[in-house]
Symmetry: C2
Subunit: 197 residues, 2 copies
C-alpha cells in the first residue's frame, strides 16, 4: 500500500492542524499513514536551541500564533494558545508509543485538541489520564507501560531515526527518500506518495 | 482597488517562485500588487544571524534546496542553485527602487530568473546591466540613480518599514494589518485581500 510517515512532536503548533486533517486527506488519495511521535527537543538542541524558536525569535513567534489562528479558523478547528508554551511533551510522546498502534491516531488527535483547542496542560498526568479513559484505555496500565525501559528506548530510537532522516521541525512527512516539512506541505507529500509510492 | 504588498529580498530563495507567479494569481482575484524590495540582512542581524539561516542550520538548508527544486519542478520554472549563496543583493535592491514603478515587476522577475534559474551572479554589475538593457532601461543612468543618496535612504526606510510590520523572512505579503509569510501563503494572502481588502 502507498504509505506516508507522519513525524510529529506533541508541543509542535503546526502539527495540530496536520494531525486533525491527515487521515481524511490521506484516505482521499488511497495513502496509508504511519504515525511517528518523537521528541524535537534533542534535535533543536543540536541546532543550539534550548527553547522553541518561536520564543527565541519573537517576530517569528508573533507571526506563528496569528498564522495558526487563521489556519484553525479556516479549518473550523477550535484554537486556544497554550500557556506555558512549549508544553513538556515527554509523557505524551511515551504514551503515544505505549498505546496500540490502532489507537495512536485517536490518542494523538485528542492530545493536540486538548492542548491547542482547549488550553489544557499536557505535561502532567491529569489531562493525559482523562484522554486515555475517554478512549477506554486503562490509564494506570498505560502510564506504567509508558515509563518502561522498552518505551523509553523506543522513543529515543524514533528521535534518532527522525534526525537521520533530516527532520528538523514538525510536522514532517516522509515518503521514501523525500522529506516534506510543515502543515502546508501535507498535500504535496500525499500527492508524492500517491504518484510515486 | 484591493491591494497586497509583496515584500521581497533578492537573495531569498522562496521569493523566486512567489515573484514569478504573484501577478497572475493576483489578477485572477482582482487584487493589485505593490512590489516592495528591501534588505533582509539587517533584520536577520537583529535575530543574531550574520548569514542565511539555511547556511547556519544545515538540515534546514538541505531541505530547503530540495523543496525549492520540487516547487520549481511543479511550476515548470527552471532551477539552478546559486553559488555562492546567499548572493549580495544590495545593488539589485537599490536598482529595483531606482527603476520606474511600472518596470519593477519585470526587473524583479528577471533578477530572480537569472539568479535561481540560470545561476548567474547578481552581486556585481554585469548581470544587472544585461537585465536593464534587455528591458530597454539605460544601464548607466539607472546605476547612477541606484547609487544616489535618495535611493540609498529609500531602501533603508523600506527595510525599517518591513521590520515595523513584523516581517522576519521573505516572501512576505501584507494586507492591512495581516502578515503572511512564505510562497505557500500567497493564495491565503490574496484571498484575504480579495475578501476583506
Amino acid at each position: 500500500m502507498l504509505q506516508i510517515d507522519f513525524w510529529y512532536e506533541f508541543a509542535s503548533t503546526y502539527s495540530y492542524p496536520a494531525a486533525m486533517r491527515i487521515e481524511d486527506a490521506a484516505k482521499a488519495r488511497g495513502v496509508g499513514v504511519r504515525w511517528r511521535p518523537f521528541l524535537l527537543g534533542p534535535i533543536f538542541f543540536d541546532q543550539g536551541w534550548c527553547n522553541s524558536p518561536f520564543n527565541i525569535y519573537p517576530a517569528k513567534g508573533r507571526y506563528m500564533w496569528r498564522d495558526l489562528e487563521r489556519i484553525c479558523g479556516s479549518l473550523g478547528l477550535p484554537f486556544a494558545r497554550p500557556d506555558p508554551f512549549p508544553q513538556n511533551s515527554l509523557t505524551a510522546a511515551r504514551l503515544a508509543l505505549a498505546v496500540d498502534e490502532a489507537e495512536r491516531p485517536a490518542f494523538t488527535r485528542a492530545v493536540y485538541a486538548a492542548q491547542f483547542g482547549e488550553r489544557r496542560q499536557i505535561a502532567g498526568k491529569e489531562t493525559l489520564a482523562a484522554i486515555l479513559a475517554k478512549l477506554q484505555l486503562e490509564p494506570d496500565a498505560h502510564f506504567a507501560r509508558a515509563s518502561s525501559d522498552a518505551i523509553k528506548m523506543r522513543l529515543k530510537e524514533e528521535t534518532d531515526e527522525a534526525r537521520r532522516l533530516g527532520v528538523f521541525g514538525t510536522p514532517a512527512f516522509v515518503v521514501g527518500d523525500e522529506l516534506f516539512w510543515g502543515n502546508d506541505r501535507l498535500e504535496a507529500a500525499l500527492d508524492w506518495a500517491a504518484k510515486r509510492g
